[in-house]
Amino acid sequence: MTVTEERATVGFGRTLRKEDVRFVRGHGSYVDDVSLPGMLHGAILRSPYAHARIVSVDTSAAQAHPKVKAVITGETLAGLNLAWMPTLSYDTQAVLATDKVRFQGQEVAFVVAEDHYAARDALELIEVEYEPLPAVVDAKKALDAGAPVIRDDKEGQTSNHIFDWEAGDKAKTDQIFASADVVVAEDILYPRVHPAPLETCGAVADMDPITKKLTVWTTTQAPHAHRTVYALVAGLPEHKIRIIAPDIGGGFGGKVGIYPGYVCAIVGSIVTGAPVKWVEDRYEHLVSTAFARDYHMRGEVAATRDGKILAVRVKVLADHGAFNSTAQPTKYPAGFFHVFTGSYDLQAAHCQVTGVYTNKAPGGVAYACSFRITEAVYLVERMVDVLARELDVDPAQLRMQNLLRPEQFPYTTATGWEYDSGDYPKALQLAMDMAGYDALRAEQREQRRGREARGAGEASPAVASQHDGQLMGIGVAFFTEAVGAGPRKHMDILGLGMADGAELRVHPTGKAVLRISVQSQGQGHETTFAQIVGHELGLPTEDIEVVHGDTDQTPFGLGTYGSRSTPVSGAATAVVARKVRERAKIVAAAMLEVSPDDLEWTTGRWQVRGDPDQGRTIQEIALAAHSSLELPEGVEGHLDATTVYNPPNLTYPFGAYICVVDVDPGTGQVKVRRFIAVDDCGVRINPMIVEGQVHGGLADGVGMALMQVMAFDTDGNHLGANFMDYLLPTAMECPSWELGETVTPSPHHPIGAKGVGESATVGSPAAVVNAVLDALKPYGVRHADMPLSPAAVWSAMHGRPLRTDLAIT
């Protein structure tokens, strides 16, 4: 345990989190904790069918319920021109269905009542007549001739096709493949999963009938973006909308988009003239809010016989569900999937992605995916293992042979990304050293020899160790992330450039208030961002308050997702603090009656160069800046500053992961024995928080690799709509994580930080899956799709691989 390490009180280092003081007392303030006088409660009626025409909706009995204040249907909203709303991908999504329902769990009607239970009762009184239609469940059949057209609401839409998109040089890639010594190919599914934060989504909407100001407490990772979208959707004046995101109980990308329930709560408040709370339950959350992945990929790798990887080629069929509401920069309908070239020096690469509609919930970009880099890393890291199997070489050595070398940075990939910095071989070597890689391989060889000697499948007569009789597997994965979106000339969401503001005030007594646009969902911004200010100004962390989560109190910015808080808003914070420091320099010069050019900065203090006794602390300067001290002509008083940070490039964290598993050959049960994770996220502001984020992402990897999937039956019924069916890892499935680090600062970030929030979620699934398939090598299994449940593993071992995303009945 390392919890007794020395604590930093100023600037970077391990320091306890400010926000924990309220959380451990049960005094967090989440959306469902908000209670306003006269508040009413909303509930949503949802479709039982995946695809059906709505014949009629009869709300009369619900309206007659004594506690019901309003019943809102698609027809009600159509009258307000609000039945449909724009999505973050320039598509449309039904707020409440009017013509058809297009996925199971889709929103059909909204009841507002005096209490939560009465609202639920009233849902039972609404009579909806449906005419069921055949559902499109399998993305591979969405483009079949004769497939039902899901989006017949869209003019000119005659199929379920959404987009085709490609990146890279196809001709050059094809040419390399045509002449390569070795080509391997594999069909790989990254199944539909869901981020499932423990707090579901919800909102409390309060339209003041007098001032006409709308206040919405809501579960959002992007308060400013939500405000602008509400203004555009509802025609409300933006300055009359206040979005408050209080404490958020986990988001992981699922709280970026705008859901129909939020809009319904707002309409409910407008209609009733009272505040309306709507908080969904777990079933509603899992069936209707943003899913993740659902990428059907075919990967190919071309290489030389001696293991030099030359090119990668990928085709993707992307299941986007019933409405294309994925959240990513406008230019990139497949997100940043074209970072699939991974961490290797390739001659060429090409990907082609086709997006389709199906009768499933919308979403697609969520769950700590860094805009689809999860899918890209999983694809390339599985393919490298497939190649290693083909060439009969060690997968770690094959990676080491092909990793980018430190001297190649900055490195432009075959699909156009400019990786900023890295020492990849060092990170992989450290992971191998920590794991004792050679010893693990020796143990595995010994185990396999023993099994062969005894005859595969028979139990050992003398149990020598706890792992005896198990199939040991060692999995390696290396990842490069691309985070901190992004340069505004390339990246926007709904036309809003992805730059973020920061405002800093230093009060006369030297206490500071930082206002930021990004939104913590547990990342500890109140601590980390105070540490950045402290690092730049020498103020103690406890003297800096961070204000976030309220559009009336913070500068505009696009919020927290894609690991962008530290890369973008953290940079803005450093820049705004440096502005304050420069202003303080002028004030200090006036105080000391010297030229600013004669001053030098030491932590928390401007002093005369060569005469360190002559100096003023930042606290003294702050007081003077607010005093009657005469300042040079044109210099304003006070120590306040603002900035907007437009990142010059993305940042590129990376890491090397090694997973050791034991597979029970009799049941297919996988036990994760060890997990070694070396992360390089550049400079670490608070190592304790960084490690915590990595821990969480590693658990995600174990969950996705072994347990989590949202499967559907052929009628489109959701088979993972609660935590009894959608399995998440508990403390029993997680090993004690073994972390290591290297530090390669980002050359273009003001403090050299790269961001880490999603690294482990991106990198870990491939390590676990590679480990399981390594364990199954004696059975000749080259690939099997996630989740590698006991059934999936057992079936693969017996030559009958499962299709994990569909239940064929």
């Binding site: 989190r17 451990v24 049960g26 969480g696 997680c734």
Partner: protein, 160 residues
């Protein structure tokens, strides 16, 4: 139905619907929002409170069943302004991120430590295995509980 439930040492008498869940009674009727509502199916454990000294999932208990019983919630974990070592351990070891699972985890942890003052890491994992955390990968929760085991209340300083 009129019920009297003692919560964190204070008796509360209320007229409630028979179907009202204990989690909603605590949160909505009494305004004790430290206990959270996460899944409805007894899987996530964000709603764990003590029932006569034993942890239960309050989303699966009716409020009327608690009539005449003693309930303890996260708001009752600290005593006389002094944080419980478990609360201190969660802060010291970064045992929480978003904080949503934390109250339930801490209530289970305190019950474990009362029964087993020095549990192994494996025992801690077993004790919290009926609860979910989506942020921490459990590592620092386990460390936090172990920290509390090695820092009995008499040693605990109240943080500023």
């Amino acid at each position: 139905m009129e019920i009297t439930v003692t919560v964190n040492g204070t008796a509360h008498t209320r007229d409630v619907e028979p179907r009202l869940l204990l989690v909603h009674f605590l949160r909505q009727t009494l305004g004790l929002t430290g206990t959270h509502w996460g899944c409805d199916t007894s899987n996530c454990g964000t709603c764990v409170v003590w029932w006569d000294g034993r942890p239960v999932k309050s989303c699966t208990v009716l409020a009327v069943m608690a009539d005449g019983h003693e309930i303890r919630t996260v708001e009752g974990l600290a005593s006389d302004g002094q944080l419980d070592p478990v609360q201190q351990g969660f802060m010291e070891c970064h045992g929480l991120q978003c904080g949503f699972c934390t109250p339930g985890m801490m209530m289970t942890a305190r019950a474990l430590l009362d029964a087993e003052p020095d549990p192994s890491e494996q025992r801690v994992r077993e004790a919290i295995s009926g609860q979910l955390c989506r942020c921490t990968g459990y590592e620092n929760i386990v460390r936090a509980v172990r920290w509390a085991a090695t820092h009995p209340a008499s040693d605990t300083e109240v943080p500023a």
